[in-house]
Symmetry: C2
């Protein structure tokens, strides 16, 4: 029997057990600070599969010294990282399989049809916060490893399974794993890509702009300068800059993406009295960072653009720019990288069609893996992009199984598998 | 000795005593709900002067039934109104002298050079919250009455001195006084006009607009509709409507006013996450109401204008319009009204120059007096328009004394004075 057939049969036989495991992990509401329960489940599963397990609580004080540390906390006392290690026999290519275990908050319960941590299965879909982003993708990884193990596979190269915290808040979990030495020749991250393959991932940063006006009574508003009006000028400048930045991007990976690296203004607030001219407006937003750019270059470009606005008001009252909150490094791997070819070949073998290869519109831990861990990364996973971070998040179970098979074959090829 | 000379001499003699009284009233921080202390001072002063005094706590539950009631509370248990009555001998014109005793909050203490309730006098200016708006103006009224009394004047018409609460929050104090019967043939309100005479006062209302968008991830912002962008369209529509409304105003009173009835957007807030496309923005503002307009007409004009915006988005997602918070009726008196002529004549007699006659850019209790109390009102007072509601509010003592003399002579002429 061929390897593919063995793996496929094993997966079919184990689907029900796999779904139950996913329900268990979704039922652990692993928002920031609450990751212990689910990490213990993962560690136990890795032991059962037969991997060496390293579970540790990252030292936030030490991590905070790293230039790429970005988190809203330094205390990870209740937030362990888990890595499962499958040592190869030697002389093979090593691989990281990386998935984050933290989930974004469930938000307004009224918008959920079922409880967000139910893990309810209806018509082949499993519902719940984290199902798509990305416990379902992590399950594909675990199934791939378990299928290889239980069908008697041996690997030449080392395999590292990362179950990390903090991806949603800036990647401190992956940073900790990389700094602990869990790096490899390449990586796969099964974030929810709708089964598309993303060799390039957009980075991003958050900015805060403070725009000044001049207060006056609303009845004599012509005696003041409205910071809301001036914010309108700044918003237009941001649109102009977005156009300039995106015109530069000619990589064919972006050919079907309307705006490869958008600048989004997500929050606005200003003024404090309906009948006063507002003297201050604050905008908060996110700027996309292209794979070839550094964060520093992009910061400088936005700052320079805003400081060169033509209106005389702004020369006397420059827009204040702050960089705050989370940031994600961009990541990329060559489109003709051997892992790209291997993954694409196996995708075609399992699904009978060519994969869609595109650039990712959002950042992942692939930026840290590539840039800090020197581990070029591909993002490819079974989740549904559109429901990540939204109420009624779900994943299709059939996609999890398909991704597991594709990834298992890819591990086999990449790490040098041998099967009795 | 002429009446003017007697009054003038009396005022010169009493200036120091008057300043001390103003200090006492400014030192009473009569923000909303804290008016008892200062009203007791006023009532005592009125008794000393020899007026009949009516001090009462308005019945908020009853007032709330009136269509022009507008307040953030219905409990006035600690907020008395005071009216002083000088009954005329009969057959004369009656007059209301109206001043509010409530002050707006002092705001950030760090922005005040002296304590906001110090009443400190430096170089002829008395500093403190409420000095200009409008305890200084009220003092001009009290001095005018006292000067007439103490120089032996008798009046034919009745004189009512209103010391009212709630002007800053919608006028419930004046409404209560009017409904209690304290109306007259005309009124003078010494709000801070820089000694200008305002026969017309702009009314105003507050509005809240809710603008919808469609949420999306900031990295794919092209999949959403930014409510901030749509707010930009609404802000432009508001500017357009403001222009249309102001082009209609041809009254020469407004000839030196850049925008007779402005529409001011004072607050904006929207979105809740930097990297999400914002799906809602709320604008709060104030629309000016011209003297000849009704509040209902103006509400309808804004609502209709916003519901006729051309962008298809708004036909499916109409802008929600709410009217909230305070509102002030516009007020006006004919520019050739006898009280206008009398006041202008006395202004010229005291100051030796023609008064500036203009329209007021803000609402006062004159709207309620005119429209509910059928008491046409002139706004004319010694305060400094620019410092009302601001830190380091002050008033020039000399202006208080000048206004007192002008008003005393006007009372004498209007109410039919007789002097031994």
């Amino acid at each position: 029997m061929q390897v593919k057939e063995k793996l496929s049969n094993w997966l079919i036989a184990k689907q029900d057990e796999a779904v139950e495991f996913l329900q268990n992990t979704v039922q652990e509401a692993s928002t920031t600070g609450n990751e212990t329960g689910v990490q213990k489940l993962i560690a136990k599963k890795l032991e059962e599969i037969g991997l060496e397990v390293d579970m540790w609580y990252p030292d936030g004080e030490e991590l905070a010294n790293h230039p790429n540390f970005c988190a809203s906390r330094t205390d990870f006392s209740y937030s362990p990282n888990v890595v499962g290690i499958w040592r190869g026999s030697g002389d093979g290519r090593s691989l990281v399989l990386n998935g984050h275990i933290d989930v974004v908050p469930e938000g307004d319960l009224n918008q959920w049809e079922h409880h967000p941590y139910s893990g309810k299965v209806i018509d082949g879909k499993l519902f719940g916060r984290g199902s798509t982003d990305m416990k379902g993708g992590n399950l594909s990884l675990l199934l791939a490893i378990q299928a290889l193990k239980e069908t008697g596979t041996k690997l030449k190269g080392d395999l590292y399974f990362h179950s990390v915290i903090e991806e949603e808040s800036g990647g401190a979990g992956t940073l900790a794993a990389v700094l602990r030495g869990y790096k490899a020749d390449a990586a796969i991250i099964p974030e929810p890509t709708n089964m598309k393959i993303f060799p390039a991932q957009q980075g991003s940063m958050w900015f805060r702009l403070t725009i000044k006006g001049k207060a006056a009574h609303g009845g004599t508003r012509y005696e003041g300068i409205s910071a809301i009006d001036k914010a309108g000028v700044v918003l237009q400048a941001i649109k102009d800059l977005e156009m300039i930045r995106n015109k530069r991007i000619t990589d064919p990976l972006y050919k079907d993406i309307p705006i490869p690296v958008p600048i989004n203004v997500g929050k606005i607030s200003g003024g404090n009295w309906p009948s006063s001219v507002p003297d201050s407006v604050v905008l908060e937003g996110r700027i996309g960072v292209a794979p070839h750019e550094t964060l520093e270059e992009v910061k400088k470009e936005l700052e320079d653009y805003l400081s060169n606005m033509q209106e005389p008001w702004f020369s006397k009252h420059p827009v204040a720019v702050e960089w705050f909150g989370a940031q994600w490094l961009p990541g990329s791997i060559e489109t003709d990288h051997l892992l790209m070819n291997t993954l694409s070949k196996n995708y075609k073998q399992v699904l009978g069609e060519e994969p869609i290869i595109e650039a990712s519109p959002w950042g992942t831990d692939g930026g840290l893996l590539s840039q800090v861990g020197n581990t070029p990364s591909i993002v490819f996973g079974p989740g549904v992009t559109a429901v990540a971070h939204y109420p009624n998040e779900y994943i299709e179970i059939s996609k999890i199984m398909e991704a597991a098979e594709i990834i298992a074959l890819t591990i086999y090829d990449w790490c040098g598998g041998e099967n009795e």
